[in-house]
Symmetry: C2
Subunit: 307 residues, 2 copies
């Protein structure tokens, strides 16, 4: 294995940073992790928080492979992978990468966890813009297998290949996104459904909790097993997706037309009046969500699919 | 239990009819099912096909509670529930219900499995329009827990209540949809994501198989456990969905704007050129989908969630 005994520098020790640190430690038994953050209590904070992310793992052994530092130069000095999840701020990231480039080894992989600032923008001040690629997780990464790998037009094929290879070797699902686009792919898909959900609730078809129940009892479990194309391809029987579209296409188009009308009429635009009502309904329905329970169930679902 | 020893008449023995028959037989141990269809080989057909739907059940015992008939009047004569999945044709359904109304007991529940013809339209020729309600499954109903219960404005509260109660007593997830709307709720949500999926593939962001991988490794398993509102509510931390929208709302709106542009520019309209390419890609990726394997995995996912 090419990725054994490697050193991972985690830049930014927020929730995503700790979750990624835990993922490397749990899935890559000989790696070491250096956690960089500017907070003065970094070591105590890490010792208190990291164990929550080390699900079903030997917490003591895993934490024995972590060190902390408040010097970014020190964190990246001998790193094989530098994984950044600092503030979602283009200036911060541009500055950080141009410094990291000077301090890290020549062949270290540079990954940003950004959900929206493309590698082409982050790498603008770098000497060698071929080195940076976005690796966008679906939160939390220590549970969810997806990693959207989004290169800039300058990212080298070698960097892309080694990035995909690393994540595959850890049993994750890295997916190469071919063009830098707003929101990448996962959020674009999820937000499209979320907009329709907001529209249907705003129109009074169904409440927030019932809408969630619809999803949890239908497309959630279905799409955990087979994504939308595979599902509708199966739904078309022998003729596949083509037959599905021949038979159901009229209904699909009617639904799309109705959605367009409703979204326009209902003003489903962020910050408008519908939002307040939906936030209130959601708060009433759920209060504080037990994310530990959610993560355990999600893990069980993923295990059920992969059996 | 109010629903023990009941008689269910299944009108139309296609895939959905057989799946519903199997569901009643498996989940309601003392019920009997009468299968009505016009096909002359109905008995042999049922005996050959029904066992495929009786997953993890005593096939012999279940089939011992099924009878077949080519007379609709006979099928409904002493039924407690009449469940219709005939052709998706408003004329057929209007005629069928006005006949069933004459032949079935006064207090029988009348359910249509239609995916698009509302109860208000189907019941137009009925003497008593309060009796009919749509019970729309997510296919196949013997596996998927969701049932969208969609009354017309005339449907009586008693019919709605007994319908919900029956499905809850069988451990399913009936969800009351408050207004008759195009596509009801589940398909509206799924088709909204499907449109975005088609748009992103048509733009070359990602291929069909990789898009499915994105969904299977992220929102599929997540939404199997917690629907979109609950998920984003958790994502907002202590402030819930309101905080989520405060923090991420800008990105959400940017994604919605990008979607609108792409859907318009790409002409994501059913039957246009993009469709052919996506159908071909899907066929190449999957060939014939093993739905039995898919259903077994889906069942395991549902069990993992409910544990």
């Amino acid at each position: 294995m090419a990725f054994q005994n490697i050193k991972v520098a985690i830049i930014g020790a927020g929730t995503i940073g700790l979750s990624f640190a835990a993922l490397h430690l749990m899935k890559n038994p000989n790696c070491t992790v250096t956690l960089y953050d500017t907070r003065p209590d970094l070591k105590e904070y890490m010792e208190a928080k990291l164990p929550q992310f080390l699900v079903d793992a030997d917490v003591k052994e895993c934490t024995s492979r972590v060190s902390t530092t408040v010097s970014m130069a020190e964190a990246v000095a001998d790193a094989n992978i530098v994984q950044e999840q600092g503030p979602e701020n283009a200036c911060f990231k541009r500055k950080a990468w141009s410094r990291i480039e000077l301090d890290a080894p020549r062949d270290a992989l540079f990954w940003s966890s950004t959900s929206g600032i493309p590698a082409s923008e982050q790498s603008m001040d770098m000497e060698d813009q071929t080195r940076l690629v976005v690796v966008h997780p679906y939160n939390p990464p220590h549970i969810m297998p997806l990693l959207e790998v989004v290169p800039s037009p300058s990212t080298s094929q070698g960097v892309i290949d080694r990035t995909l290879e690393y994540w595959r070797s850890l049993g994750r699902v890295p997916v190469l996104i071919r063009k830098e686009c707003t929101g990448f792919v996962a959020n674009r898909l999820a937000f499209a459904l979320f907009r329709e959900a907001c529209s249907l609730v705003a129109q009074g078809m169904v409440g927030v909790e019932d809408l969630d129940a619809v999803v949890q009892a239908s497309m959630g479990p279905r799409w955990a097993v087979a994504g939308p194309f595979k599902s509708y391809h199966a739904g078309g029987g022998e003729g596949g997706l083509g037959s599905f579209m021949d038979k159901i296409g009229g209904t699909v188009q009617e639904c799309w037309n109705a959605s367009d009308e409703d979204v326009k009429a209902g003003g489903i635009v962020v910050g408008k009046k519908w939002q307040e009502d939906i936030c209130r309904q959601t708060e009433e329905a759920y209060g504080v969500v037990d994310t530990a329970e959610r993560d355990l169930k999600t893990k069980a679902v993923l295990e059920a699919v992969s059996r």
